[in-house]
C-alpha cells in the first residue's frame, strides 16, 4: 500500500495541475463560440469590423489556448505517472473516453486551430467560418468526453469487477455514455465556460468604453458578450440545479456534505444558508436555516427525505462489514479455489468490495479489522464538510451575481443606454476574475466532495497511487508549481499587453492608438 505522504502529495499535485488547467479551459470553451458568432455576423453582413473582432478576440483566444494545451498534456499522462493503480484498476473503462477525446475531439480542435490563425488569406469566407466552427466544436466535444470520464468516477455505471484480472471491466458502453451524471455535468461545465468567456469579453470591452476608445468595436463586442453571457448564465443556474438534483439521487454523501445535513430531517428539509459545519460534533454552528427549501430543490418533492450524514454513516458501516466478507471471498478465489460456490459467494458480495478496501488504510489485512478500525473507516467515508459547504455557497452566490451583471448589461445595451449607465462598465470590468473563482470552487465541490474515493464506492483514493517515492512526487510537484506559475505570469503579461493594445494590435491602421508602423506609413 502506498504511504500516506505519497497519497497526499499525489492528490495535491493532481489538484494543482487540474486547477491550473481549468484556468484556461473555460475561456477556450466559451470564447471559441463567441468567435463563431462574430465571424458569422461578418460572413452574413460583410462588415470588416466583425472580421477584426474575430481576429482580435482570436488573438486573446490564442494566448489562452496555448496555456490550455500546455497544462492539458499533463492531465493526459498524470493518471499513468501518479495514479498507476487507478489506471490499472479502471483503465478498461476510464481509458476509453480519454482515447475517444483524442480521436474525436482534440484532433479536430488542434488541426483546425492553426487554420483559424493562419488561413484567413487562403480560405474563402465560409470555409474559414467552418474552420472556426470546427475549433469550437472540437473543444466542446473534448469537454464532453472528459466529463463522461469524470462522471464515471462519480457514479461508476456499466462496469463490474473481474477477479481474474483484478480490475473493473466494462459491461455496457451505452451505460458509460449515458451516465445520468454526465449530461447535466457536461452542460453545466460548458455553460460555466461560456459565462467566463462572456465576462472576459464584456469586461475588456467595458475597459475600452471607459477609456472612450474604439467605440464601435467595443460596443459591438459588448453586445455579443451580454447576449451570449445572459443565455449562458441562465443555463449554468438551471443545469447547476439539475446537476444538484442528479447528485442528490446517486451521490447522497456529496449532497449531505454540500448541505451540512447531519441528521435526516422530516421532509421537505430546510436549507442551511449560513453556518459553520463542525465535523467532530456533527452539527452546524451558528446555522441560519430556510425551511423547506433544500428538500424542494434537491428532491423536487415534498415528501422525499434528504438522507443525513449520521444515517449515511450507519449504512456505510453495514457496507464496510459486507466489504470485509467480499474481500475474504476474493482472497479465497485468488488462492486458487475455482469452485462455483466460491464464485457465487464473491459475486453476491462484490458490490461492497470497495467498502472493504477502505479498511486497508487502518487494517492492512482487512478481514481482521477491529470495531475501532471499522469506526475509523466509517468516519473516512464522509468528506471534509466545511470547505465543501462554503465552496458551494460561494459558487452559487457568484452565479447569481453574474446573472445580475449580464441581465443589466443586456438590458442597457439593448436599449442603447450605455452612455448613461457607466456603472455597468465598471462592474463588468471588475467582475472579470470572478467566473474563474466560481469555476474553481465548482471543481472543489465536485472532486473534493468525492473523497475518500477516486471511483465512488469502488476504489479508495489511498490505494490509487503509483508505487513512487514521496521524494519523486514532491520534486515533480515543486516543478509543476514553479513552471506553471512562471508561465501563468508570462500569459497574464501578454493578456494584459494585448488587451490594452486592443484592436490596434492587428496593425490594420483603422483603430485608435495606432502609433505603429501602419499609421506612420500612411502619413509619410
Amino acid at each position: 500500500m502506498p504511504s500516506a505522504d505519497v497519497v497526499d502529495l499525489s492528490r495535491l499535485q493532481f489538484a494543482v495541475t487540474a486547477l491550473y488547467h481549468f484556468l484556461f479551459v473555460p475561456l477556450t470553451l466559451g470564447l471559441s463560440w463567441i468567435l463563431v458568432i462574430m465571424e458569422s455576423v461578418y460572413v452574413m453582413t460583410g462588415k470588416e469590423i466583425y472580421r477584426d473582432m474575430t481576429k482580435f478576440w482570436g488573438k486573446l483566444f490564442g494566448i489562452n489556448f496555448a496555456m490550455g494545451v500546455t497544462t492539458g498534456i499533463t492531465m493526459e499522462f498524470q493518471f499513468g505517472t501518479n495514479w498507476a493503480y487507478f489506471s490499472h484498476y479502471v483503465g478498461d473503462i476510464f481509458g476509453a473516453p480519454l482515447a475517444l477525446e483524442g480521436l474525436m475531439a482534440f484532433f479536430m480542435e488542434s488541426t483546425f486551430v492553426g487554420l483559424f490563425f493562419f488561413g484567413w488569406e487562403r480560405l474563402g469566407r465560409i470555409q474559414h467560418l467552418g474552420v472556426t466552427f470546427l475549433v469550437a466544436l472540437g473543444s466542446n466535444l473534448s469537454a464532453l468526453w472528459i466529463l463522461i470520464a469524470n462522471a464515471w468516477m462519480q457514479y461508476p455505471v456499466g462496469a463490474e469487477f473481474n477477479a481474474e484480472t483484478m480490475r473493473m471491466e466494462l459491461t455496457s458502453f451505452a451505460d458509460l455514455l449515458f451516465n445520468p451524471i454526465a449530461g447535466p455535468k457536461f452542460v453545466h461545465t460548458l455553460a460555466a465556460g461560456y459565462t467566463a468567456a462572456s465576462m472576459f469579453v464584456l469586461g475588456i470591452s467595458s475597459y475600452y468604453l471607459l477609456r472612450r476608445r474604439d467605440h464601435s468595436f467595443a460596443v459591438r463586442s459588448f453586445a455579443v458578450a451580454a447576449g451570449f453571457g445572459l443565455a449562458s448564465v441562465l443555463s449554468v443556474l438551471v443545469l447547476g440545479d439539475e446537476s444538484g438534483y442528479t447528485t442528490g439521487e446517486v451521490q447522497k454523501v456529496k449532497l449531505a456534505a454540500i448541505e451540512a445535513e447531519w441528521d435526516t430531517e422530516k421532509p421537505p428539509a430546510s436549507f442551511t444558508a449560513f453556518g459553520f459545519p463542525n465535523q467532530k460534533a456533527e452539527r452546524t454552528d451558528f446555522a441560519i436555516k430556510i425551511p423547506f427549501l433544500m428538500g424542494l430543490m434537491a428532491t423536487r418533492s415534498v415528501d422525499t427525505p434528504v438522507t443525513g450524514i449520521k444515517e449515511l454513516k450507519q449504512e456505510h458501516e453495514t457496507r464496510i462489514r459486507n466489504g470485509m466478507k467480499a474481500y475474504a471471498a476474493l482472497q479465497r478465489l485468488k488462492s486458487g479455489d475455482r469452485s462455483p460456490e466460491a464464485k457465487a459467494e464473491f459475486d453476491r458480495l462484490k458490490a461492497d468490495l470497495g467498502y472493504g478496501l477502505l479498511l486497508k488504510k487502518h487494517a492492512p489485512a482487512v478481514v481482521d479489522a477491529t470495531p475501532d478500525q471499522i469506526r475509523a473507516a466509517v468516519d473516512d467515508t464522509i468528506p471534509n464538510v466545511l470547505p465543501i459547504f462554503w465552496s458551494f455557497r460561494l459558487m452559487v452566490g457568484l452565479g447569481l451575481w453574474f446573472l445580475f451583471v449580464f441581465a443589466s448589461a443586456f438590458i442597457i445595451v439593448a436599449r442603447r443606454r450605455l452612455a448613461n449607465n457607466q456603472w455597468i462598465l465598471k462592474l463588468a470590468l471588475w467582475s472579470i476574475p470572478l467566473p474563474w473563482i466560481a469555476i474553481e470552487l465548482g471543481w472543489i465541490v465536485a472532486e473534493y466532495g468525492r473523497q475518500p474515493w477516486t471511483i465512488s464506492e469502488v476504489l479508495p483514493t489511498h490505494l490509487s497511487t503509483s508505487s513512487v517515492t514521496a521524494t519523486d512526487v514532491a520534486t515533480s510537484l515543486a516543478g509543476f508549481i514553479a513552471f506553471y506559475t512562471a508561465l501563468l505570469i508570462v500569459e497574464l503579461y501578454l493578456m494584459f499587453k494585448y488587451a490594452r493594445l486592443g484592436p490596434s494590435s492587428l496593425g490594420t491602421g483603422r483603430y485608435d492608438d495606432e502609433s505603429g508602423a501602419a499609421v506612420h506609413g500612411a502619413h509619410t
Partner: protein, 382 residues
C-alpha cells in the same frame, strides 16, 4: 454484444493500431520535434527563425495530438502498459512533459514581444521542447529492448525498481542517439521542402550530418541486438483468447530472441531495410533537390525504425528484466474483449477522418514560407 472479432484477433489488431499511432506520431510530430532542434542553428537572425517557426506553425498543434492520442489509446487498450510504463519511467516522463510545455507557449508567445532576448529565450525553449522528448522517447524504446526492472504483486500493483540513471545504459543511450538524429534529419528534410535560400541550404547540410549519425547509430544498435543483447521469449501461456494476468505465463531470456520474428517471418526484414534504404535514397533525393521525394523517403525511414523495434519485441511490449513473467505482452496487458472492440470501431471511424482533414489542412497551407512572407505578416504570424 456481438463480437465481430475474437479476443485474440482484437489483441493483435490493437498491437497494429497502437503501432500505427506511434508511426503517425513519429512521422508527423517527428519533424516538428526535429524542426525545434534545428531552429537555433538553421535560422540566423529573427526573420529566418520566423521562417523556420512558421513552416510548422499552422500544423504542429494537430501533429502533437498523435502523441496525446497514442497516450490515450494506450490507456484504453493497454491499461497495464500505461500504468506501469508511465509510473516506472516517472522522472523521465515528467522531464519530457516539462520540455513539451515549451512548445505551445513557445510558438504562440515568442513573436508577440519584440525584445530580441525574449525571442531568443523562447527559441532555446523550443529547442529543448524538441530535443528532450526526442531523446527520452529513444532512450525509453531502447530500454524496452533491454528489459525494464519491474514486477507486480498479487493485487496487480506494479513496482519499478530501477532509477533514472539506470535508463541511461549504453544501449538506451544509443537508441536515444538514433531517435534524436533520425528526427533531426526528418525535420531538416521537411525544412528543405518548405523553405528556400539560406535556411534551406543549412537544412540540407544538417540533414546530411544527421543522416550519417542516424545510420551509424541504428546500425550499431542492430549489431548489438544481433550479438550482445538478450531477448525475451514466451515459453508457456494460457490461450491467447483468454483473459489473464501477466504472471500466468512463463518467460525466458535468451540471446538472439529479438531476431526470432525476423527469421520466422522474413517479410518483417522490410522494416530495417526501409530505415536504411529510405535514408540513403532520401539523401540522394535531397542532393538532387527533389525535396518532396526526399521528405517522403524520410517518412518511410522513420516508419521503418519504429516498426523495426516493434517487430523485434512482438509479442512483448515491455519486458521485465527482474521478473520475466511480469513482462507485458499483447496477450496479457490488454483491456477486456468488449473495450477492445468498442475502441476498435472508434479507431476505424475516426482515424481515416483525421487523415482526411489533416491532409486538407496541409494542402491549404502548402508552399514555401519565405522571409518576405514573414515580414508581410508581422502582426499575424508566429
Amino acid at each position: 454484444m456481438i463480437y465481430v472479432f475474437d479476443y485474440a484477433t482484437l489483441k493483435l489488431i490493437w498491437w497494429a493500431l497502437v503501432g500505427l499511432l506511434l508511426v503517425g506520431f513519429a512521422i508527423l510530430d517527428g519533424f516538428d520535434l526535429g524542426v525545434g532542434i534545428l531552429l537555433p542553428f538553421v535560422g540566423r537572425g529573427d526573420d529566418e527563425r520566423r521562417v523556420v517557426l512558421n513552416s510548422v506553425g499552422p500544423t504542429w498543434e494537430g501533429n502533437q495530438v498523435w502523441f496525446i492520442t497514442a497516450g490515450g489509446a494506450t490507456f484504453a487498450a493497454w491499461p497495464l502498459v500505461y500504468a506501469t510504463a508511465f509510473s516506472g519511467f516517472y522522472a523521465a516522463l515528467i522531464l519530457t512533459l516539462f520540455a513539451l510545455f515549451f512548445r505551445p507557449v513557445g510558438f504562440d508567445y515568442r513573436s508577440k514581444v519584440a525584445d530580441p532576448r525574449w525571442r531568443n529565450w523562447w527559441d532555446w525553449g523550443l529547442f529543448i521542447g524538441g530535443f528532450v522528448p526526442a531523446l527520452v522517447f529513444g532512450v525509453a524504446f531502447g530500454n524496452l529492448l533491454v528489459g525494464v526492472p519491474f514486477h507486480f504483486d498479487v493485487d496487480q500493483r506494479s513496482f519499478y525498481t530501477g532509477s533514472l540513471v539506470g535508463l541511461l545504459n549504453p544501449f538506451g543511450l544509443i537508441a536515444g542517439i538514433v531517435s534524436v538524429a533520425m528526427l533531426t534529419m526528418h525535420g531538416a528534410l521537411y525544412l528543405q521542402l518548405r523553405t528556400e535560400g539560406a535556411v534551406q541550404a543549412r537544412a540540407i547540410r544538417a540533414a546530411r550530418i544527421a543522416a550519417v549519425i542516424f545510420v551509424a547509430a541504428f546500425a550499431a544498435a542492430g549489431y548489438w541486438v544481433a550479438t550482445g543483447l538478450d531477448g525475451f521469449q514466451i515459453v508457456a501461456m494460457p490461450s491467447p483468447d483468454a483473459s489473464f494476468v501477466p504472471s500466468a505465463k512463463t518467460v525466458e531470456r535468451l540471446p538472439g530472441a529479438w531476431l526470432r520474428n525476423y527469421s520466422r517471418h522474413p517479410w518483417t526484414v522490410s522494416a530495417p531495410l526501409a530505415a536504411f534504404g529510405g535514408t540513403l535514397m532520401a539523401l540522394i533525393a535531397s542532393a538532387l533537390r527533389r525535396a518532396v521525394l526526399a521528405f517522403v523517403l524520410s517518412c518511410i525511414a522513420v516508419a521503418g525504425v519504429v516498426l523495426t523495434a516493434g517487430f523485434a519485441l512482438f509479442p512483448f511490449i515491455m519486458p521485465s528484466s527482474t521478473d520475466p513473467a511480469s513482462s507485458l505482452t499483447v496477450w496479457d496487458a490488454v483491456s477486456s474483449h468488449r473495450t477492445l472492440q468498442v475502441m476498435f470501431w472508434a479507431a476505424v471511424i475516426f482515424l481515416p477522418l483525421i487523415l482526411v482533414y489533416t491532409s486538407w489542412v496541409y494542402r491549404v497551407m502548402r508552399g514555401k514560407v519565405t522571409v518576405q512572407h514573414v515580414k508581410d505578416g508581422s502582426h499575424s504570424l508566429y
